[in-house]
């Protein structure tokens, strides 16, 4: 038996592989893994082949149909609103991000502006040129002693 035949048999067989297939699998690790996977699927999906719904299934279904409710299904309201939920959440998320961004920016701008104003004030105080301009005498700092306006002599 080769690997192709083994896998064909594995797919067709309703039960565990036969002795020849088992012999092949003992020499071929790939086919052994394939056989284990197939058995796992069969084992986990096993059912009673004669199983049927409990007695009175049709009556219960008819009651459900008459009440109009689908078990496990969302209500018509939820179904209608469902397409709107995701865009609304995305919009809300975007708004939150923008708000946080604006708050952060305004805090940064405020903190950055405060020392700049302080620097300007100290510059006005320390710089004679600026203070003379502000005082209305732009040439003041550059005037020599000869430029000094003569003070009227007192009689």
């Amino acid at each position: 038996m080769n690997c192709r035949e083994f896998r064909d048999q594995l797919r067709r067989a309703a039960s565990a592989p036969g002795p020849e297939a088992r012999r092949h699998a003992s020499f071929c690790p790939a086919c052994e893994a394939e056989a284990r996977a197939a058995l796992l699927l069969r084992l986990g999906s096993q059912r009673d082949e004669a199983a049927a719904p409990r007695a009175g299934f049709e009556d219960r279904l008819r009651t459900q149909l008459d009440s109009g409710a689908v078990p496990g299904e969302a209500s018509p309201w939820t179904r209608e609103l469902d397409p709107l939920v995701r865009p609304a959440l995305a919009l809300a998320g975007a708004l939150v991000i923008v708000c946080f961004g604006l708050c952060g920016f305004s805090l940064y701008a405020r903190s950055a502006a405060a020392p700049r104003q302080a620097d300007l004030a100290s510059l006005f105080e320390a710089d004679p040129v600026l203070s003379s301009i502000l005082a209305g005498d732009p040439g003041g700092p550059f005037a020599g002693p000869e430029d000094a306006t003569p003070t009227p002599e007192s009689p």
Binding site: A33, R36, L43, G44
Partner: protein, 207 residues
């Protein structure tokens, strides 16, 4: 009423409000759908709820049925979608399932995968664990594999039942088989203390 009426004509009459036609349709298909649901949901109550949900959907959308497609494909499509939706709610990660495997259940499942015979209690524990491991597969992949390998549908039929293409079905089946091989190998490779290859028929309860 004639019992040999086609499914499509029964559905058309059910859509027109004939309750008896719908009941006949339910009688024809409920066992098949129930057994399909049992492949995925081990509790009969869960499987029955699935079948009920499928028939409710069939009843609601009966007027939208186009008879170009076989009724069986249309019905299976509704059934597979309903099962896949439920499976999504129960989907678990492989790591979490493997971490929860008890040594006994792991060893019994390992023994079952080597073809050994087990006692009823051990076989049940192995089946439960196998079902938990299957629950880690993506629901659509699992559905495709079950329809192909266990229900005996062709790739074309599975594509019609799941509303996809044949190529997509083959890709899903390939992916699911690979994931199953990994899971089956992981069970076999658990530490010797955790999973010992017990002889068939060894007794003991689930710890």
């Amino acid at each position: 009423m004639a019992d040999d009426a086609s499914d499509a004509s029964l559905l058309a009459r059910a859509a027109a409000g004939e309750a008896a036609a719908f009941d006949l349709l339910v009688g024809r298909w409920n066992n098949r759908l129930f057994r399909l649901a049992l492949r995925f949901f081990r509790r009969p109550e869960d499987a029955e709820e699935i079948v009920q949900e499928v028939f409710m959907k069939v009843h609601r959308t009966a007027a939208g049925y186009r008879s170009e497609a076989p009724f069986e494909h249309w019905l299976l499509k509704i059934a597979t979608r309903t099962c896949v939706d439920r499976l999504r709610d129960r989907h678990r990660r492989p790591e979490s399932v493997l971490a929860d495997v008890t040594p006994d259940a792991g060893s019994w499942l390992d023994a079952a995968l080597t073809g050994a015979a087990l006692e009823a209690q051990q076989a049940e524990a192995a089946r439960t664990l196998a079902a938990e491991l299957l629950a880690t597969l993506p629901p659509k992949d699992r559905m495709v594999l079950v329809l192909l390998d266990l229900e005996g549908l062709s790739a074309r039929e599975v594509a019609a039942a799941t509303g996809s293409t044949r190529a997509a079905v083959k890709v899903r089946a390939f992916r699911a088989r690979r994931a199953l091989r990994r899971l089956a190998t992981a069970i076999g490779r658990r530490p010797a203390g955790a999973v010992g290859r017990r002889p068939a028929g060894a007794t003991g309860g689930r710890s």
